[in-house]
Symmetry: C2
Subunit: 83 residues, 2 copies
């Protein structure tokens, strides 16, 4: 069982790294871009025998406690039961 | 039109930051974790009038040229036509 956690900056929080990437991409000739925002991505693999509900709960708690800063960041959890 | 780009370390590439997060999570009492791997996540917003095929192509080129290091990282593009 695998959980994917996406951490993104909240709307309204400045994203200088995203702005820098946007600028670099424009310099390379990509003109159709409105905006690029940068975030973090985590893949959590659980031990065998962990159920989907348990994995989701653990991933959400870990997301809140360890991975995201809830003051400026949002996070989203997706469970992949395939593996 | 929005593209989401996920950048992950290739299999076999050491991920010390993921290991550190795994260790922290274990110290906090999460014992059912097999592994945590860390990656990057980007949301690219395109100007109005950019089609899905064009957005995918641009996101893949930007992923290869700017966002990922193809020597040690893989990346994946998802197009979200909703917005």
């Amino acid at each position: 069982m695998k959980a994917k956690v996406y951490v993104t900056l909240k709307k309204g929080v400045l994203d200088p790294q995203g702005k820098a990437i946007h600028h670099s991409a424009e310099l390379l000739g990509y003109s159709a871009l409105a905006d690029i925002r940068q975030g973090k991505y985590f893949e959590i693999s659980f031990n065998d025998g962990v159920g989907e509900a348990e994995a989701r709960e653990a991933a959400e708690t870990i997301g809140r406690d360890v991975l995201a800063n809830p003051v400026i960041e949002d996070f989203q959890v997706e469970i992949e039961s395939g593996s």
